[in-house]
Every structure is written in structure tokens, then in C-alpha cells.
């Protein structure tokens, strides 16, 4: 080899890493630049002849639209409620599934399964077979208990969507917490036990602190996914009734594919990008800290 080692090293580095970096760079920059550009135009594909620069008009109209703000609020409710439910149920499930009992591995598999169900299927099963006001299993259950029948998706659209989302994502939380619990030193628990701690004290003074990082990870990763929930709303309520389940993602979708208003959809899209990035920066910080001292993680 005539070339010096350092240069060769750099070339292999480039050859191996550059393709992945390159495609991701294109994937990120090109659409984002286009979104910014479109957000400054009057651009509706139904009347292409009226295309033209409108400055910040799209943003101005968007920010003055009460629907935009209410859908932003619903997005936060959806994310917040789903997070709370999945984390709490996830911890409960993880604590139970961590203990040894006959058939535990089967029970774990059963509890994990919903996570692999495609969102469209999950939404349809809940919408039709469980929450349907006439033929749904839940309505049969409530009416045979003598309770009034609830038309879930019409009367409680956001609650219903949170239930569906939580059903899909609780297994994920459970799995992360299980992983974390399994790395917990046995002696720590034993010591506490010998000190005469009751289960509740055990949980709050030992288990919860140990889980804190796993909880942070679950919260941030789920937030990213929850912010862009689409299929569940699309297949169940279509954002309704009225606007009752229209979230930020759904309103942008509606602007793009029900109004074909590229300008407005792009302006809204930029808000979604900003919102996701706020969460993402926190997540990336945490992962970065982990890269520096990995052994701290459980």
C-alpha cells in the first residue's frame, strides 16, 4: 500500500459511513426545505393557477384559527393522557411479570402481543368489535350489568382513542421496565427487605428510583410516537364528531388531503416539527449522557 495509513483510514470511514449519512441528510434537508418554501406560498393543488408568494400569511391565518389552537391542546391531552396510562399500567404489569409464577413466560408473551398489532387493525377491532354501541362487546357488558350503553367513539372520542393507544403501548412500557427491573441488583432489594420495609416503602424508596431513567426513556420515546398518532384517529373517528378528536397531526392531514392546501399544511407541518424537536432534544441529551457513562443505565 502506497498510501499512508491515516488517509486510508479516512477513506474507509467515508466509504462506510457516508452512504447512510448521505441518504439521511437528503431525507431530512430536502423535504424540510420544501416545507419551508411551500409554507410561504399560496399553493393549493386544486387551483394551481393561483400559486404565488404570500409571505407569512399562511402562518398568520393558522395562528388566528381557533381550531388550530384547540387541536394543539387536544394533541397535548392525547400525549399526556396516553403517557400517564401507559407508564402506570406498564409499571404494574412489569412488577407482576417480574415475579416468578408458573406459566410466566406465556403470560409475558400474551401481555406483549398488542404492541405488534398494526395500528389500523387495533383501531378497527376496538371500534367495531369492542366499542360499537349496538354490537360491541363493551355495550353488551355494560347493558348486561344494567348500566347505560355508551357510544364510545361518539360521546367520548378522545377517551376512546387514548384507550386504544394505551392498549398498544402499555406492553412497550412494560417491556422496558421489565428490562430495567431485571438489571436491579438482588442485594439491594434483599437489604431493604431485611430492614423491614413494607412493599409500598420498597416500591417508593428502591424500585421507583431505580426505574426513573427507564421511565424517562419511555416517556420521551412514546411522546415522539404519540405526537404523530394518525391511523388510530383516521380509522375510528376521522377527527370527529365535529372537531372533537382533531389533533395537530390530523388537522395537517386534513389541510393537505381534504383541502389540498399545501401552503397551510406546510405551515402547520412546521409547527409539528418544532413540537417534536422539543421532545427530541431532551431525548437526545439523555442518550448522549448515556454514551458517556453507559454503565449507569439500568
Amino acid at each position: 500500500m502506497a498510501r499512508p495509513a491515516g488517509s486510508r483510514q479516512r477513506w474507509t470511514m467515508l466509504a462506510l459511513v457516508a452512504p447512510a449519512v448521505g441518504v439521511l441528510l437528503i431525507w431530512m434537508i430536502v423535504p424540510l426545505a420544501m416545507t419551508i418554501y411551500f409554507s410561504l406560498q399560496r399553493f393549493n393543488i386544486l387551483y394551481p393557477e393561483r400559486f404565488g408568494f404570500v409571505g407569512f400569511r399562511n402562518f398568520q391565518i393558522l395562528l388566528n384559527d381557533p381550531l388550530f389552537w384547540s387541536s394543539m391542546g387536544r394533541t397535548l391531552i392525547l400525549v399526556g393522557a396516553s403517557l400517564a396510562v401507559t407508564v402506570i399500567l406498564g409499571i404494574v404489569l412489569a412488577l407482576v411479570m417480574e415475579r416468578e409464577f408458573p406459566g410466566r413466560s406465556i403470560a409475558r408473551l400474551m401481555a406483549l402481543a398488542p404492541f405488534f398489532v398494526m395500528p389500523v387493525v387495533a383501531a378497527l377491532v376496538w371500534k367495531n368489535m369492542l366499542m360499537h354501541p349496538v354490537y360491541g362487546l363493551l355495550s353488551w357488558l355494560t347493558s348486561s350489568l344494567g348500566l347505560p350503553v355508551v357510544d364510545w367513539l361518539q360521546n367520548w372520542p378522545m377517551t376512546s382513542i387514548v384507550i386504544i393507544v394505551a392498549w398498544q403501548w402499555t406492553p412497550f412500557a412494560m417491556l422496558v421496565f421489565l428490562t430495567s427491573l431485571q438489571s436491579m441488583p438482588e442485594e439491594q432489594k434483599e437489604a431493604a427487605w431485611l430492614d423491614g420495609a413494607n412493599p409500598l416503602q420498597m416500591f417508593f424508596s428502591i424500585i421507583l428510583p431505580h426505574l426513573s431513567r427507564a421511565i424517562t426513556a419511555v416517556v420521551m420515546i412514546e411522546s415522539i410516537f404519540f405526537l404523530s398518532i394518525f391511523a388510530e384517529i383516521f380509522t375510528t373517528t376521522g377527527g370527529g364528531p365535529g372537531q372533537a378528536s382533531t389533533t395537530l397531526t390530523y388537522i395537517i392531514y386534513a389541510r393537505a388531503f381534504l383541502e389540498w392546501n399545501v401552503g397551510s399544511a406546510s405551515a402547520g407541518g412546521l409547527f409539528a416539527v418544532v413540537l417534536a424537536n422539543i421532545v427530541a432534544i431532551l431525548l437526545i441529551r439523555m442518550v448522549a449522557r448515556n454514551m458517556q457513562n453507559p454503565e449507569k443505565f439500568g
Binding site: 462506510l16 423535504p31 416545507t35 415522539i224 404523530s228 437526545i284 448515556n290 453507559p294
Partner: protein
């Protein structure tokens, strides 16, 4: 200290049953007749029939949706590995000053909400003639999963002891030999898990597939979503189609469960 009691077992199986119930109910419904699927109170004991599954298969288009799902999921996974393995290899074994930054930047691309860039992608695809093509959908799935794949592989490669490579290098092995004879065998489990995760995510993806396909390239998600409007209500058929769509993925997921956390949390929890 870990005591097993009847209580724990009951609680564990009870909770698991509740979580699994919607899937179980779908499974049961898929073997019912349409009339049984609707009857109230629900029919628990019935003569199982394959009629709804047969109907699903008889709808000739069903096989097309499955084929599309298989092609895009596998295609994107292969692409992912082709791009991610070299990058992850380089970054974990020959890290440079920029490695950490590059890795973190990669996660950040994963955080971009699809809805924020849907219009540009749609119009670009239209311009390039990629709308409603398998190639287009495969590309999207590939780009969507690439950051996860790099990260997951990176954390696996990190765990392979460096000494093996040192030894090989002393023997005069080049990068290619290193990859082929030493690294690949040692990292097969990691690569397999990464591939499984990519396949699952691509298979279940629904935003892009609903927006970017119409007829030719529509995968199973689109087929199942078409049941959302109750054109008559074919719940048995819907269940049958859904079972066939999620069955293989749930099995893959079970196989992957140990490795899943690492991939989905970017190595933050393992």
C-alpha cells in the same frame, strides 16, 4: 426472596388475559360466520368455520396486498442493513471525534414527524413517478428505519470484544476480511434482531402507506383500513384479514422481545 404464590399467578395471568383479549376475540371472530359475529349476546361456543378466511383469500386482490407488504417490508429491511451495517461497524470499531455527533444527529432525523413533510414527499414522489409504486414505499420504509438500524447495530457491535479484531488485524486481515470472517459471525444475533425490528416497523407502518399508495402498491394496512367504512358489516372477514395480517408479525415480535428494548430506546435502556 422471590416467592411464588397462587395470587401472583392469578394476577399475572389475569392481566395478561385482559391485554390479550382483543386479539383473542378477533381470532375467535375470524372463525365465525358473519351472523354469529354479530349476535348479541356474543356467541362463545360455536362451530368454527373457515368460510370468512376463504372469502378473504377468494377476493383475488388480497394476495396482492400481502405480496406488497412482504416486498416492501423485506426490501426496506435489506436496504437498511446494507446501509446500516457498514456505518455501524465503522462507528463502533473505529470511532472518530465526530462519531457521537453523527449518531445523535441520526436519531434526530427519526424524530421528524411524517406529517410535517408529507406534502413535499408526496409532490416529489409524484414528480419522480414513485407514487403508488413498491419502490417508492420501500424507500420510505428504508429511510424511516435507517436511524434505528444504525443505533441498534452500533450497540451490538460495541459489545463485541475488540481483541478479536486486534488479533485479526495482526494476522493482516483487511477491512473486508475483518467484516466477513470475524465480525459477521459474531454479530449475527444483532443483525438478525435489527432485521426483525425493521421488518415489524415497516409492516405495521400506516401513515405513509395510506397516503402514498392507491392501487398498485397498496400494502395490507391499506386493505385493512378499507374495512373502516361499514359497507355492510363484515366483521368475520375483517377479523380474518386482520389475523392474517398481524399473525406473522406477532410471532416475529415474540421472537424479538429480548432485543426490542435496545433498538427502540436507542440503547438508552438495555
Amino acid at each position: 426472596m422471590k416467592r411464588t404464590g397462587l395470587g401472583t399467578a392469578l394476577l399475572g395471568h389475569g392481566l395478561a388475559f385482559v391485554m390479550f383479549f382483543p386479539i383473542l376475540w378477533m381470532l375467535l371472530t375470524s372463525f365465525k360466520t358473519e351472523i354469529d359475529a354479530f349476535s348479541m349476546p356474543p356467541v362463545l361456543f360455536y362451530e368454527p368455520t373457515l368460510s370468512s378466511l376463504n372469502d378473504v383469500f377468494a377476493r383475488g386482490s388480497y394476495s396482492k396486498f400481502v405480496t406488497n407488504s412482504v416486498i416492501t417490508a423485506l426490501g426496506s429491511t435489506i436496504l437498511c442493513l446494507l446501509f446500516a451495517v457498514p456505518a455501524a461497524y465503522q462507528m463502533s470499531f473505529h470511532p472518530s471525534k465526530r462519531t457521537n455527533g453523527t449518531l445523535l444527529w441520526m436519531i434526530s432525523t427519526k424524530m421528524m414527524p411524517a406529517v410535517g413533510v408529507i406534502m413535499p414527499i408526496y409532490l416529489t414522489f409524484q414528480y419522480l413517478g414513485l407514487l403508488d409504486t413498491l419502490l417508492g414505499l420501500t424507500l420510505i420504509f428504508f429511510l424511516m428505519n435507517l436511524p434505528l438500524a444504525v443505533w441498534m447495530l452500533y450497540t451490538y457491535f460495541k459489545e463485541i470484544p475488540g481483541e478479536i479484531l486486534e488479533a485479526a488485524r495482526v494476522d493482516g486481515a483487511g477491512v473486508v476480511e475483518e467484516l466477513r470472517f470475524i465480525l459477521l459471525p459474531a454479530s449475527i444475533p444483532g443483525i438478525a434482531s435489527t432485521a426483525l425490528l425493521c421488518t415489524i416497523l415497516a409492516w405495521n407502518e400506516s401513515f405513509w402507506s395510506l397516503q402514498l399508495t392507491a392501487v398498485d402498491a397498496a400494502p395490507l394496512t391499506v386493505f385493512i383500513a378499507s374495512f373502516k367504512a361499514a359497507e355492510g358489516m363484515f366483521w368475520a372477514k375483517m377479523s380474518g384479514a386482520s389475523m392474517l395480517a398481524i399473525g406473522p408479525i406477532v410471532v416475529l415480535g415474540w421472537m424479538l422481545q429480548r432485543h426490542l428494548v435496545r433498538g427502540l430506546t436507542f440503547g438508552a435502556v438495555k
